[in-house]
Subunit: 331 residues, 2 copies
Amino acid sequence: MMNRASMNEPGMNEQRQPTREGVRAAADAIGAILPPTPLLPLEIAGAKGWAKAESLQPIGAFKIRGAWWRLSNLTDEERAAGVVAVSSGNHAQGVAWAARRLGIAATIVMPRDAPQVKLDATRALGADLVLYDRPGEDRDDVAARVIGEKGGTLVHAFGDPWVIEGQGSAGIEIARQLGRAPTRIVACCGGGGLAAGLALACPDSAIQIVEPHGWDMVGQAIARGEIVQAATDAPATICDALQPTATKQLNLDLLRGRAQAGVTVTDAEVRTAQVFAFSKLNLVLEPGGAAALGAALAGKVPVDEGTAIMLTGGNADPARFAETLLAAGEA
Amino acid sequence: MMNRASMNEPGMNEQRQPTREGVRAAADAIGAILPPTPLLPLEIAGAKGWAKAESLQPIGAFKIRGAWWRLSNLTDEERAAGVVAVSSGNHAQGVAWAARRLGIAATIVMPRDAPQVKLDATRALGADLVLYDRPGEDRDDVAARVIGEKGGTLVHAFGDPWVIEGQGSAGIEIARQLGRAPTRIVACCGGGGLAAGLALACPDSAIQIVEPHGWDMVGQAIARGEIVQAATDAPATICDALQPTATKQLNLDLLRGRAQAGVTVTDAEVRTAQVFAFSKLNLVLEPGGAAALGAALAGKVPVDEGTAIMLTGGNADPARFAETLLAAGEA
């Protein structure tokens, strides 16, 4: 019998190169089970643009795309052995959702300080949770230990060819909804899975990534041409979904020369975007899901009628969201 | 020259009978400028159903449908004379939105105590506002006075054949999205424009109306077989969008024998629905837009896979919404 743990290491998956054809196939597979999320018109400082409301996916985030595409491409043998994922919450829910639908056992490694709403939602989808302390423990080490003990395929949150192709399906949808390729896609960026997928999906579109201040691990990697680890004293951010320890070589290879980096947002800019989405779009966005919109509202990225701003997630903590609304009213 | 005021009284419009053909034509016209709002899956106490997110329309409410259909059916002469509407806010925004797009002058009669967000949004769409005191003044009297002074066509919020047909287009969309006629549509109900339109749109579907406690003017009218005026001492409700002084004969005629009435919701049930929509759907709903969902969550109406619950509006006051979230967290 094969050793499933070693067979399914990220290094193995990285040998499969994600392709635009793969993104198109992913879009077909995802379109067969999930209706397109709305592309909503918005106006920022007189400029018209578009918002892609991935916050309205069944799990409240775009992560359902990559998870579905990865899990539906597992072999029967791999399905039987189950999957393991590492996530602060949205990828966790995506994998748990896809696993439940496909009848696959899922174990999710999550940081103990992940938002309660995300911990609860992942459990409710039937996944086993293994909690770890961020930043004390390395989450990939925890995942490797779980796989060593229980077996199963690691579904990496961003450094996986199928996951990248799945996330890219959002770009195919945007082009269909606009009736043409967008001139620019502004994307919230954590590890770079979505951005890499969008770069493949829309080869003629500018891909502008937006990262939280101090957590621009993709932007720094693009600038330096090599993987950069997050500083151990990186500043706090409210964008819990956008705190990668580092991007992966696969993502960097796909994004170098394709993605425009260098834009980061502050917590205040993110909160402004959450309030804007509430007031103007009637959408609930979590902080990490509002980063791209925050950059647009702050004038850090241009917006025009060919611009699509990714609203990547909406799993917000109610009490923190209420505080944000009240603080905005007092400002 | 004709007397526009007398020519465009509600009584005249009521001579045109809204039809299912009219609803289908409205759906085509509206579909040409507004993409379908999402039909989102939801689960209530283990039962799966659907939520029609009309809160994601450009003005944040379904009212854009009826307003667009009415205004785009005005003659050139009528367009030149402008339109007058009476509304607590969402119909106001719908008429203002359609008027701006068609280059028609709009005067909107709104209660002085309408939510500030709705007053501001209506002004921002370029309409002239005339404020009145609720309940001291009769809003229809104020509108008649405005028309007497300035001329123009009254666009009634619910007692108008085109408005009814326009609102009904949501039912056509739901049937297309489900791939079949819904077995049941649960609709928030104020004056009965949406419900009447849905009854025409989906002749084989049960139409369950949901009204705020003490403001069941459609339900009472159906029960008694005649128009019933709201009590002068009707209880307060947080559903500002669902406070009609009475329904109209046109609506009653379309709803008798077609709509199921008798279900009302309390403020607490509405708030529970707002919190559910926030947490489970990542949607912002205003109180009046959450009434149908509130009834479903309270077990007052059945939910199954053929059930579509209308989420009719999302123009919520941020401070009140924050209080609702915080109170739910403490409960």
